[in-house]
Symmetry: none
DNA sequence: ACATTGTGTAGTATTATGTCTACATTTGTT
DNA sequence: AACAAATGTAGACATAATACTACACAATGT
C-alpha cells in the first residue's frame, strides 16, 4: 500500500524537506504526516497547534512548505498569509481547510497562498496538491479553476459564489459576524471603529443582497456546507 | 511506536469487531483507521461519506460501533442518533466532531450517544474514548463531565429540547426572529410594544442559553432537525 | 495619463435595541 | 384555597447600531 512517488521534481533542495503543519486537530495531523511520508519519503515535519506557535516556528527554522488550516486557534483569516511571508518570503503555503473551497479559495489565492486544498479531498488529490505546491505550481481543484476562469464575464450567467465580490476586509468582518460577534466586538478585534464595521456590514449586505444576519447566514450556509 | 493496547475487556464479541466510520473527510478517516488498528489490532472497518450511506450500511451489516461526525452531508443533527438506533438498537455511537463539545455534547448524550469526542482531542484521548465506548462505558471529556455534574437539576433524564420551555408567545417571537424580522417589525406584527418584544427576546435567550441570534439559530437547528 | 470604481476608514446625527423595573393575569402546586 | 412561579405587557433610560456623508488611496480601464 506504499505509494511512494519519489522526490518532487526539480529538487533544488539538498537537505531534507522541512514542512510545518499548522493544524489543531491531532487526528488530521496524524494522517497528514502519514501521507507526507508516503509521497516524500523521510521528511522533516514540525507541527503547530495555534497560529501564534506557527509564527514562532517559522522564525526559528527555515521551511519548504506550510500546510495551514484556516480554523486554527488565534487564526486571523487571510492576514495569516502575509504574516507568514513576512517571516519567510519564499515559503510555500498550502491552505488545507474544511471551509468550502469555492467560497474561500479565491480569496486566499489572491492573498498569496500557493494552493487551496479542501479537507473533503480524497487521498489522491491531497497528494497531488502537496506535490504541486512543492514544485512551485499553484494548486486549485478543477472546480475552483473553472470558477476562476468563468467569472471574467463572458456569459451573462454566473452562478458563482456571491462571496467573490466581497473585499478581503469585508470577508473578514463577515466571518466574525457569522460567529455571532456583535459590531462592537468586531471593531475591537480588528482595531477599527464601530462606524467602520457598520460600513462593512452595509456593503456586505448589499453585495450579498440580504437585509439581515439571518438571511446572510442562510446565503452563506447555502454555499458552504460545513466548517466545524 | 506501536501502541497496541489489546482487545477491549469483557470481549463478548467473538467475531472480528466491526466499526463504521461516518466521516466525509478522507484525511480524518485515514488517521482514524490507523488508530483503530493500533488499539484493536485487525479490525473490520467500513466507511460512509454521507449520513444516508451510513443508514444503508447499518441496514445490511451488524456493527459494534459507529463513529459519527456531525457535519456529515445529509446530516440531521441529533435525530441521527434515533435513526441509527432504529436500525440497530444496540449499536454504540461515538460522536467525533469538530463542534464545540461544551455546547453540543450534552445534547447528543441526552439524545442517546454513548460518547462525545472532540476532534481537538489528542491521540491518547481518542484511543481512550474508543476503548471506553467499546466497553459500554459512556465517554465524555473531563470538562464536559464537570459541566454535566453542575446542573444537577437537569441530571434527571430530561431529554427534551429547550424549546419546550418557551411560552407560546415566546415561541411566536422566536419564529419571527428566525425569519430575520427585526424587533420593530415583530412589535408591529404582534401589536405589542417594542419593549415587550425585547423582553421576550431576553427571556428566549435565557431559556435557550444563548447570547445572540446566530447561536439561537444553531440551537434551534439542532433541535428542530433537518432541512438541507 | 486620466477618469472611474473599489476599498478602508470615520464622524455625526438618528434610530433601534437592550436593561431594569413593574405589575396584572394566568397557571401550577401543595 | 393559598402561594409561588410563569406569562404577557410596558415605561424610562442607557447603550448599541445604522445612515449618510466624506475622503484618501489603490486598482483598473481607456
Amino acid at each position: 500500500m506504499s505509494t511512494f512517488v519519489g522526490w518532487f521534481s526539480h529538487s533544488q533542495i539538498s537537505t531534507m524537506t522541512k514542512i510545518l503543519l499548522v493544524e489543531a486537530h491531532a487526528i488530521v495531523r496524524i494522517a497528514t504526516k502519514l501521507i507526507l511520508n508516503e509521497i516524500l519519503g523521510p521528511v522533516n515535519i514540525h507541527e503547530s497547534q495555534s497560529f501564534g506557535a506557527s509564527l514562532d516556528q517559522l522564525a526559528s527554522d527555515q521551511f519548504d512548505l506550510v500546510m495551514l488550516d484556516l480554523t486554527i486557534p488565534e487564526g486571523e483569516s487571510y492576514h495569516m498569509i502575509q504574516k507568514l511571508r513576512a517571516i519567510q518570503p519564499g515559503v510555500r503555503i498550502l491552505i488545507f481547510s474544511a471551509k468550502d473551497e469555492s467560497l474561500y479559495a479565491p480569496h486566499y489565492l489572491k492573498a498569496g497562498a500557493n494552493g487551496y486544498l479542501t479537507k473533503l479531498a480524497p487521498d489522491a488529490e491531497i497528494k497531488k496538491a502537496i506535490l504541486a505546491v512543492l514544485n512551485d505550481e499553484r494548486y486549485v481543484s478543477t472546480t475552483v479553476r473553472q470558477q476562476l476562469g468563468h467569472n471574467t464575464s463572458t456569459t451573462g450567467l454566473n452562478h458563482d459564489s456571491p462571496l467573490q465580490y466581497l473585499s478581503p476586509r469585508e470577508m473578514e468582518v463577515m466571518d466574525l459576524l457569522l460567529k455571532g460577534k456583535w459590531t462592537k466586538e468586531i471593531a475591537g478585534e480588528l482595531k477599527i471603529t464601530i462606524s467602520s464595521v457598520s460600513t462593512y456590514k452595509t456593503r456586505i449586505f448589499e453585495k450579498l443582497e440580504v437585509s439581515n444576519l439571518i438571511e446572510m447566514f442562510n446565503k452563506v450556509q447555502l454555499y458552504s456546507g460545513s466548517q466545524s
